[in-house]
Amino acid sequence: MTATAAYTTRLSRHSYSTLRSIQGPLLFVEKVSDARMSEAVRIVFPDGHEAAGEVLRIEGDTVLIQVIGDSRGLDMDHTEVVFTDSVKRAPLSPGVLNRTFGGSFQPLDGLPMFVPERWAPVSGFPLNPVARERPQEFIETGLSCIDGLNTLVKGQKLPIFSCAGLPSSAIVASVLAHARSGGVNVAGTGSGSVVVFVALGLAHHEYAFYRQTLERLQGDFVAFINLARDPVVERLLAPRFGLSVAEYLAFEQGRDVLVVITDMTNYCDALREVSTAREELPGRRGYPGYLYSDLASLYERAGRIKQRPGSVTLLPVVTMPEDDITHPIPDLTGYITEGQIVLSRELHQRGIFPPVDVLPSLSRLMQRGIGKGHTREDHRKIANALYMHYASGRDLRRLEAIVGRESMGDSDKRMLDFAEAFEREIVHQGDARRGIGETLDLSLALLQKFGLSA
């Protein structure tokens, strides 16, 4: 029996009005004869409108149901819960391309829903580690601080750690507009690439900005939009829909998929809200103890598969609460992802764009994606030299703050100047796109100017 059939052809209608209690978004339903863990349910309100729900726990004939969406207007006597006999699934078809959906996969662009080719469980299945292809194909983002020093490769998951008020959206937009792999635009028609964009709890002005970016892409995209005013629980669902679609497009349709999820902090807060409503034991800062496993179930869906074309590359945006990188959200994210791009408030205030602090930034999969055959033979040497000299320049800034520049030796002054120039000339690039060749040439020139070898 296909999943589609499960939604439509039941022998008997499997529905109950035997509510025991309603606590916020949680319903306890009694005398249920047959329920499945994580089963999708429809909740029919007294006024006739419907909301989706999911089975959270089953104890004998009592079932705990999470309402997805607003639970206002439910009552004890006239509410009906309809069991669908299947877990939450995502509809899949090439028809998903260039469409915009809400957090429950409802079309937001005014067009009718496409006809699904098939349905897949939204949580996906873990990829067998031996089936994974090692990611090593260079993606040129056009940003020197990423391409030169923290190189991104296909199949990688590389989050952007931002702070409130920093231009993370402009950086994401710049990557979407400029990213190329093997000389072709990542976002472009006919290039085999697709952008899957998942907005979680975004404010309207941010959404409007991304909307424009997507429209300007002129390439294939799929968008899942959950705005700040939309139901919180949909925030847990939207990234799973996005990733199910991404896996389908990548591993069945052979496309290179770049998934942008913004903002993961809103996702985690939604998870915390739901977990508290379920009266689960809170962990650090009130987030549930399974936050790591839950985040991993999203992030780990990035990757490549042996002997199959296509890839899922993941660029989540995480806004660090209180600019604190040790906060559970960036902390657990960093433990799962293959590196991180860290933005700095200080660089932003000095007018540097993108304001990327390269010292705490890291790309774990860089080593195999650079050098001969990928970027350029001297890439590794240049990156190491830039990194080392910039780090020592930054160290000296602390000394400068204590003793003053005048009392420092000439070689120390030179390193201070180097760090400054590195930020102004390499990290800073404004709106311009730089190819990897240009990035490396500029870097070499800078090193030479200061008499440093690569």
Partner: protein, 540 residues
């Protein structure tokens, strides 16, 4: 014996099956998910399911197996990759495609394997429990076949080709000795006695081998925040360590990194035996998106296989990355069981479970009279890089060595980012005494000098923070130049170059040269000459 599901909550399932034993393995639901009994009440048992319970329905059947969670031990484990429940991943890839579907077993892949058995006992010989009756060849290793649970007089013994599941010998009382056997993973394997001897275990990492040496049969932890190079260090040690067998557990970590490692391991060779690296390696991998309960089981599955090779008389190294993910899995399961939480939500038995795990390391005289060792090396991922958290603290009470990975060193791209002031090794005295004899008589003396120099540098650094390096004495500036070289060329090792591995002799040569040059320059300075500026180094 079968019953039905009566309740489902996260990874735990209540069943109405009577007659189950605690920790008995059960098969849950129509999909055939694997589970383990964790709590018994009258008329009700709570089962921890090792796979995702999504889609499981009330009323689905549950069957008891009568056995505990076991690992199958015998020839053919080497070169394999298993998940946390010892299911062969390559076979599952072939049978069900790239994604892991619930209920898959991948079983039956070894049944067809044929091996050549050479008996060392003959008809009429008496055997004791744990004694070997013969051996098969597994790659480069001679793999003894042990009589695990029976003793008596041999009535019949095979010679020649055997199947992996077949008996190799029969005793007069009718009991048989098999090439393979199952062992409960949570039960430490027996040995005759534990020895307290500490022979050096060379890891190939200069910072560890020289400053914080590791001993065979010992244990070590390396905690570090993200980006401090835990995984890279762990994989480097797995490649280069001077041991016979390596069991590597990827516990709740990244899938892409495992792909990278498997890729590397199939092309690299063991620097000691020059044979392909995979021939001495068993990989157990339960990535962060694979089911949590299987993650909890994975380190037990791995250490049981490691103990088995120890019992065959080999030096075994178990590497787990990371123990924190195991502890978190324990916490998730404990929360699902609604147990009273201890510190930071971890169950109060976290410490004792860990102590039991660490206690499985050691050098032993096996039941068969061989000497085998099991060394345990664990990485820890403390939240926020804060070492005061319960997992790191519980480990510190049990571990023999502590390599603290330092975020500030990592930000400077100094790898391995082992902090040389905070780290320690309790094996130091024993191992150094042996290295003095094996490598060079001044090994211990050079260590003292190096540590003194690094100590001195640290205090000078504080002065330099105030007066600037230019304001220091000439002799102190010389010292800082030397320690910068020690840090950059000796303590740091690039895992992507030839330098990734260093033998004890190379380590000795290198530090000896650095210290000699320092000595010479100091003497020149004392004579009033200018100490030659050697290669330009940037104090960083």
């Amino acid at each position: 014996m079968s019953g039905r599901i009566i309740g489902i909550s996260g990874p735990t399932v209540s069943v109405d099956l009577a007659g189950l034993k605690l920790y008995e393995r059960v098969v849950v639901g129509e999909a055939g998910l694997m589970g383990e009994v964790v709590r018994l009440e009258r008329g009700r048992a709570v089962v921890q399911v090792y796979e995702n319970t999504r889609g499981l329905a009330i009323g689905e059947p549950v069957v008891g197996t009568g056995t505990q969670l076991t690992a199958r031990l015998g020839p053919g484990l080497l070169r394999q990759m298993f998940d946390g429940l010892q299911r062969p991943l390559a076979a599952m890839h072939q049978s069900q495609g790239p994604f892991l579907l619930p209920g898959g077993t991948g079983a039956g892949t070894t049944a067809a394997m044929k091996l050549r058995f050479t008996p060392t006992k003959s008809r009429g010989d008496a055997i004791r429990v744990g004694e070997s009756v013969g051996y098969v060849d597994e790659g480069a290793f001679r793999h003894p076949i042990l009589a695990v649970d029976c003793e008596g007089t041999i009535d019949e013994i095979k010679d020649g080709e055997i199947g992996l599941e077949e008996a190799v010998a029969a005793l007069t009382d009718g009991r048989r000795v098999f090439a393979c056997h199952d062992w409960p993973v949570r039960l430490p394997r027996p040995y005759r006695r534990k020895l307290s001897r500490f022979e050096p275990l060379t890891t190939g990492q200069r910072c560890i081998d020289f400053l914080f040496p590791l001993a065979r049969g010992g244990s070590a932890i390396f905690p570090g925040g993200f980006g401090t190079g835990k995984t890279l260090l762990e994989q480097s040690i797995a490649k280069f360590a001077e041991v016979d067998i390596v069991v590597y557990v990827g516990c709740g970590e990244r899938g892409n990194e495992m792909a990278e490692m498997l890729d590397d391991f199939t092309v690299l060779s063991d620097p000691w035996s020059k044979r392909p690296l995979m021939e001495r390696t068993i990989v157990v991998v339960n990535t962060s998106n694979m089911p949590v309960a299987a993650r909890e089981a994975s380190i037990y599955t791995a250490i049981t296989m490691a103990e088995y090779y120890r019992d065959l008389g080999y030096n075994v190294l178990l590497l787990a990355d990371s123990l924190s993910r195991w502890a978190e899995a324990l916490r998730e399961i404990s929360a699902a069981l609604e147990e009273m939480p201890g510190e930071e939500g971890y169950p109060t038995y976290l410490g004792s479970r860990m102590a039991e795990f660490f206690a499985r390391a050691g050098v032993v005289e096996t039941l068969d009279g061989r000497i085998g060792s099991l060394t345990v090396l664990l990485s820890i991922s403390p939240p926020g890089g804060d070492f005061s958290e319960p997992v790191t603290q519980a480990c510190l009470r049990n571990t023999g060595a502590f390599f603290m990975l330092d975020t500030s060193l990592a930000h400077r791209r100094h790898f391995p980012a082992i902090n040389w002031f905070q780290s320690f090794s309790l094996y130091e005295a024993d191992v150094v005494a042996q290295l003095d004899q094996q490598v060079a008589a001044e090994w211990g003396a050079l260590r003292q000098r190096t540590r003194a120099l690094l100590q001195r540098e640290e205090s000078l650094r504080e002065v330099a923070e105030i007066v600037g390096t230019e304001g220091l004495q000439e002799a102190d500036r010389l010292l800082m130049r030397t320690t910068a070289r020690i840090r950059q060329t000796f303590l740091a090792q690039n895992a992507y170059t030839e330098d990734a591995f260093s033998t004890p002799a190379q380590t000795y040569q290198k530090i000896r040269q650095l210290l000699d040059e320092h000595q010479a320059a100091s003497e020149r300075l004392e004579r009033g000459e200018s100490p030659a500026h050697d290669a330009e180094v940037h104090p960083s």
